[in-house]
Symmetry: C2
Subunit: 376 residues, 2 copies
């Protein structure tokens, strides 16, 4: 064990030693065969995790950069219908406002998306839909497959933020009709922060818009990444690529379906603990929407003060997340992404349960044993 806080956040998450050690390498020339091989490994494994046969590129920039690449390459001047039920849906809407004629289709955070209004927007000429698959700000998983069908029916492009689901939950970009899909490195992939990846369908390539951003111009990415030599158009963050390759190899070794099952089991354990404590989960789900399998949002009990509550957990060496924006002080969130497994979950549940008690909330039942029952 290292003397570092255990990050049980919806990203960044702890990295396996193999991943971190890969960054120690001396600088290499990114115009050459070795780097090309590293990049190719990332692309091959990420394509499987995206569920896509489309082109896929790694971007030296965070998930937000990849979101902007999606909108900025295919949405300039377009009518864009932005589905919003949390912070990252809002971010896609804000980005869309800079490039096109964006319409926000907002639901309360953590409540189902309004697919009726989506249909209306598409009938009124929207040519692109933006969707967050797994909205960690609210702990809700949105119905990507259903939305993909709606978008296809109206011949609109679907941009999907799968930043916190790829590698931790099922993503089937091609089967769902998601044309442009993005992931971040520091989430379920358990790689360092600073990279993102984006896949692009043939339909999307055929509908590129202009002018595009420069650093994030996907035409340049496509030109530089050839079967013969995989390069990036501009200098890549080489140590992060080295680390991402290791993280991808670990994912491949574990097996994607095993990895997804592990993520589900961990989220089940967290949800079981919340149930035992008598604390409701934050999202209001329905037949289409589900609880996130990578980050669980739980109502903070009345009277428990957020900073003190999470501070006590942190004293035990564990960082969990609070609510963002208007949910600050109202919910807390436990990430269960990447490399973490039973020991980290059990420790987290125990620390949270203790802190709830210390801060005046009498838990209804023993969340630790409930979680152990799921994990054991």
């Amino acid at each position: 064990m290292e003397n570092e806080p255990l990050l049980m956040l919806p990203g960044p998450v702890p990295m396996p030693e193999r991943v971190r050690a890969a960054m120690m390498r001396q600088a290499i020339n990114h115009r050459g065969k070795e780097f090309s091989g590293v990049y190719a490994d990332c692309v091959r494994i990420l394509k499987a995790a995206f569920g896509t046969g489309n082109d896929l590129f790694v971007i030296s920039g965070s998930g937000t950069a990849a979101m902007e690449a999606a909108v900025g390459n295919f949405g300039r001047g377009r009518k864009i219908a932005c589905l919003v039920n949390g912070k990252f849906g809002e971010r896609l809407y804000k980005i869309s406002q800079r490039y096109g004629d964006a319409q926000e289709i907002a639901s309360e955070w953590g409540t189902p998306l309004d697919l009726g209004r989506l249909e209306e927007a598409l009938s009124s000429g929207a040519e692109m839909v933006t969707l967050v698959h797994n909205e960690t700000s609210a702990g809700i998983k949105n119905p990507a497959e259903k939305i993909g069908k709606i978008a296809r029916r109206h011949d609109a492009l679907l941009v999907m933020d799968a930043i916190t689901s790829v590698g931790g939950d099922e993503v089937r970009a091609d089967a769902w009709g998601a044309d442009v899909v993005v992931v971040g490195s520091q989430k379920c992939l358990a790689a360092p922060a600073g990279l993102s990846a984006i896949s692009v369908s043939t339909r999307a390539w055929e509908r590129m818009t202009e002018p595009r951003p420069f650093y994030l111009d996907l035409a340049a990415y496509r030109k530089s990444a050839t079967a013969k030599l995989m390069e990036t158009p501009y200098t890549p963050a080489v140590p992060l690529f080295m680390a991402l390759r290791e993280a991808c190899l670990i994912m491949e070794e574990e097996g994607l379906s095993e990895r997804i099952a592990r993520h589900r089991r961990m989220a089940d354990a967290v949800r079981a603990a919340a149930g035992a404590w008598g604390l409701p989960l934050f999202p209001k789900i329905d037949a289409d929407h589900a609880y996130s399998n990578t980050a669980t949002a739980i109502m903070l009990p009345p009277g428990v003060e957020d900073a003190g509550f999470r501070g006590t957990v942190k004293k035990m060496g564990i960082e969990i997340a609070g609510g963002q924006d208007h949910l600050k002080g109202k919910i807390f969130r436990i990430g269960s992404m990447g490399a973490v497994s039973a020991p980290e979950i059990l420790a987290t549940i125990a620390a949270v349960q203790y802190s709830l008690k210390v801060h005046g909330y009498q838990v209804k039942g023993d969340g630790v044993m409930e979680a152990a029952g799921v994990l054991g």
Copy 2:
């Protein structure tokens, strides 16, 4: 010695072990005091290297991202005069075309900039000038101070790419009147590739344009980086920040003027070797323009084939650069940036001298001894 090629390129360059080791750290939360301290150290030391008291931010993206941030935040819709005498000047022109009404003021690569045409463009209403301080594609250093005075006289903003000079040659952003200045991490700073930094003058802030790119929106960077807590608007590439901090501390320990003097000495040694060999330097300098002190561009002798020549050098474990674009096969370039000092220079000169001989060029004199004479 590690069994890695010695990169004597105009970036990326070898990193000190301390810099690489900093990346091994476990993930930390980038919303917190520790990361804030890391970021603050980088900013403090980089401000000294930029010669600026202006705001300065670190961007998780390459130097090209910082170039785009410069043009994209201050040049939208503006008339932009782009000074071009090499590849990176061209890049700034290409970026400027996506945002504003860009006018290329082109000279042959490696020849003096046309300051007369710059005056004309400014008299005709150009509101922004783009300049590459140290143009490594051609090994020429452009007269930033003089151009700064011209820009000021016409009340235009000066955007300066100092990607390959900051930390290796004298840069005085404020004294020269450079409003927006950018650097890359993998050049004279000897940090890993993947970060860049940008400084912004008050004059520039007052002239921000809209709409701005999203990931590179400097208003968001300014809002997130406060005296109380230094944060980035979106997830930063944390391991690279850790490494950049170490690289900056090393620069501070060495002393900026000592570091610049060391870079000059190394470039002097390379130039002395070229002179001894009887090979002309590529740039055509004048009273205003100078040879680069961080990358030396040398004419490849007629009859010596580039790939074979550099291949022989590479067999000895050393990578030097060829020419880019239309200079491919006509010049070779030796970077002398960052942590490299006499041993690396001597080894490189020896390997190049041997390869020149092997590939049929009879050197006029002993470049190794000439270089040693400068370094010893």
